[in-house]
Symmetry: C2
Subunit: 145 residues, 2 copies
DNA sequence: TGAGATAATTTGTATGTACAAGCAATGCTG
DNA sequence: CAGCATTGCTTGTACATACAAATTATCTCA
């Protein structure tokens, strides 16, 4: 009955709120695109980084994914369980290598990723998407401190 | 040793990835600003909406927060437990009212919110923040379908 | 009027991510 | 070399959010 589209504006001017709303929307989209790979998008990125640089250390993964080391431990656990990568501990450090299975997944991941890109580009426009991504990346870098 | 700042770009062009990175950064910031209120930012927003419109229904909250109804149920549960709001069930619907305590929290929430805004504006620039928020809001609206 | 269709909320469960504390390996300084 | 600090990883736990299924209430129409 009431025009509540208008009320929204209280929250709509909050960066925290809008970013998280966008995050939920695009996460849904990404999970959809990556469903074929059997991995969540972030796990897939993790595997991608391992494929790109076999022997990468966990801390390097944490750094590139901008996530906490403990989070990476969980990712690795899961990918090891799925037989896609292997840990090679060496002293206190541990280096990660893809298995053959892991390497073979690379193509599917690339395809899923491309699909994601195309899906949101179709809605937002290709050039606009690139621009938005760049702006958001900048803001993220600054706020990360 | 290696210049891995450069490697990043693979992920840095992905909207999903950058949005989530920004989301993590600003969520940390928001949790910090709202710590004084004893609530997480989203719970605080929920209470704010209830204060703004006593008797609001759960579905309306879900709509305004762009979250799933089941999620709202959990929020309400928690805020009720804290004695900040009350449920008034009426048939299958349920209407939410603030308690006195809940109403009294409003000021603190506003202050925390302002603090959040100032904190990120100080880093990103006030005008730039507004602009970025607007762009992100637009994208969020489009991708939500 | 009454039976299925729809709507609002709840419950069970799962996932992603984080923080804090712990452990084990390494490095540093006297 | 001994002892302490640092680094890299793991474990326990917690939280926000979602989805699917269940529950209850309301609506519709023959």
């Amino acid at each position: 009955m009431e025009k509540n589209n208008v009320d929204n504006c209280i929250l709509d001017n909050c960066l925290y709120f809008t970013v998280n709303k966008l995050s939920r929307a695009i996460t849904r989209m990404a999970e959809d695109s990556f469903k074929k790979t059997g991995l969540s998008p972030t796990h897939a990125f993790c595997l991608m980084l391992v494929n790109n640089k076999p022997g990468i250390s966990q801390s390097e993964l944490a750094e590139q994914l901008h996530m906490m080391p403990s989070t990476i431990t969980r990712f690795i656990d899961k990918l090891v369980m799925k037989g896609l990568i292997e840990r090679k501990a060496e002293g206190k450090r541990s280096f990660i290598f893809p298995t053959d299975d892991g390497e073979n997944t690379q193509q599917e991941i690339r395809a899923a990723w491309k699909d994601l890109f195309q899906t949101y580009s179709a809605i937002l426009g290709e050039e606009e998407s690139r621009l938005l991504t760049a702006l958001i990346r900048e803001a993220g870098n600054k706020l990360e401190k």
